[in-house]
Structure formats: C-alpha cells, structure tokens
C-alpha cells in the first residue's frame, strides 16, 4: 500500500490513511485501488465483520467532486458506500446530488477521520457479494504474494 493512490494528489493518500484508521477501529481493513468488474476502480474497499462490502470514494478537490458523473457505478458493488473528503468539501456532500440518504460521509486528514453520516445498507444480492468477496480475497492475496516475488504484483 506504500504506492497506494500514487497517481492522486498527496492529500488523497492522507485521507486514505485517516479513513483506514477509522475503519480499523471496527476491525474493517481497507485495501486501496480495487478494480471492479464494471471497469471502475474503488479508491478504498474493505469487508466488515459481518461480511458486508464497503467502498470509500476519496475526494480532495471541489472540481473532482462536482464533476464525478460515474460514482453511482460503485453502488452495484458494495453494501455500504462512503464519501471521504477533506473538511472543506463536507458540506457539498450534504446536497441532493450525492444521495445523502444512501451514502455515508467521512471527513479525514492524515491522522484520523470522523464519520459524519452513516451509510445505508444497500443489501447487495448474496451471489454478487459472494463473487466480490472472492475477487477481493484473491486480489489481496496477490498483492501480499508480490512481497515475496515482485513479479506477481498487479496493476493498481
């Protein structure tokens, strides 16, 4: 994860770090830049204690947040979806476009994060959850195996 979000602004990695700590407190562990079958790539993805899939989309710039027309694609691949943003962007995520009744909201910096809004349960179909859990497990194992043999690394 050292090169997590290498193509994003440095503040995105700071937010990722804070979010990772927040979720770790409830024993959910986040993996960065997880490709999905629909061609999108989740900034952070994890599995909680109940086996529910969590996706976190990180935004650190207003233009990037306002211009994202494809974020709803994530909703087909998780039980809980969260925005994780820098403090100055939080109020934007309260507006209708960001589906506040459905999406959770986290404000984060490098050191920690606070959950401002809980995410609804999107109740993924069990077959989808099973398939994605398996993909997630195999991808995480692949990245770990790359520590022992770098040729096994995958593109993030």
């Amino acid at each position: 994860m050292a090169d997590c979000l290498a193509d994003s602004p440095a503040r995105a990695l700071d937010v990722a770090r804070g979010v990772t700590r927040l979720f770790a407190r409830s024993q959910s562990f986040m993996v960065c830049e997880v490709p999905l079958p629909n061609g999108r790539r989740a900034d952070l993805m994890g599995i909680d204690r109940k086996g529910k899939l969590v996706i976190v989309e990180i935004k650190v710039a207003r233009a990037d947040l306002m211009g994202d027309r494809k974020w709803r694609d994530y909703l087909d691949y998780c039980d809980h979806f969260y925005w994780a943003v820098t403090p100055e962007l939080a109020s934007l995520c309260e507006t209708e476009d960001f589906l506040p009744e459905m999406s959770g909201l986290i404000v984060a910096d490098r050191y920690d994060a606070a959950q401002l809004r809980d995410a609804a349960d999107l109740k993924l179909a069990p077959a989808r959850r099973k398939a994605e859990t398996l993909r997630f497990a195999r991808r995480a194992a692949r990245r770990l195996a790359a520590d022992i043999d770098p040729s096994l690394g995958d593109e993030r």
Copy 2:
C-alpha cells in the same frame, strides 16, 4: 510477507517462495502463516480460481516431518492439501502416514517448485468454505492495511 516464516529455518522460506511461484502460474496467490480457528497455523494458504481453499504445509527437516502428529487438523479447513518439501524428503511423503491418496506433494527450492502429486478434492462444506474465505479476505486486507499504518499489523 518479507517476514514470512521468520521463526522457521531459512530453507522453509525458500520453499515458500518456490511454491508461491508455482501456484501463481495458475493464478492462485499464497499468503503465509494463516491462523485457523482450530488454533493451528497454515504455512501457506490461498484460494484458487474456482474459490477452492488450498493449504500448503512446508517441511524442510526429516524430524519435523516425521514428528508432525497434528497435520490432519488442516484437512478440515481446505479443499486441497499439499506437502511442500525439499527434494530429499519427497520419498517420505509417499508413505502411508502422509495419506498420499489425499494429500498433494510439491518439491521446491527458492526458485521454483514441481508438483509431484495432485491433491484430492476434500469438498469442504459450503458454509465452512464461505466462512474461511471471509476470514482469509479480512486477514489479507489487514496485512495490506498495515503497509499504510504499521499499528494495524497482526501477529503472524
């Protein structure tokens, strides 16, 4: 995985590396030292493309191989069980005690590995496989998250 099998002889890590490469060729990625609910710890564990759980027990010393009275405990937690040994131990694994009709056999060194015997399909109960896949996924994610925050690391 840099400190994979840190408490084992150096040759054990060599074997782990060779085995990891062997399985990677069929897109199965191995994670080292995976604790199981029964208190045992698998030297290597992975999930193959079909979602089957694979456990590999590494032996590099004759006394360790001959003295292992608990290895059958692994059979309750995988679909495929393999011995991975140094070349001089391979013939021992052909004997009855090591259940050759059930266990696979791999000979390995640091650079590669060869599969001498296929593992039978132990047909884990689906509920067990589901639970273990989830545990595996969450553990692998936890280890990856430790790259971003070392305090998240778990004991191997």
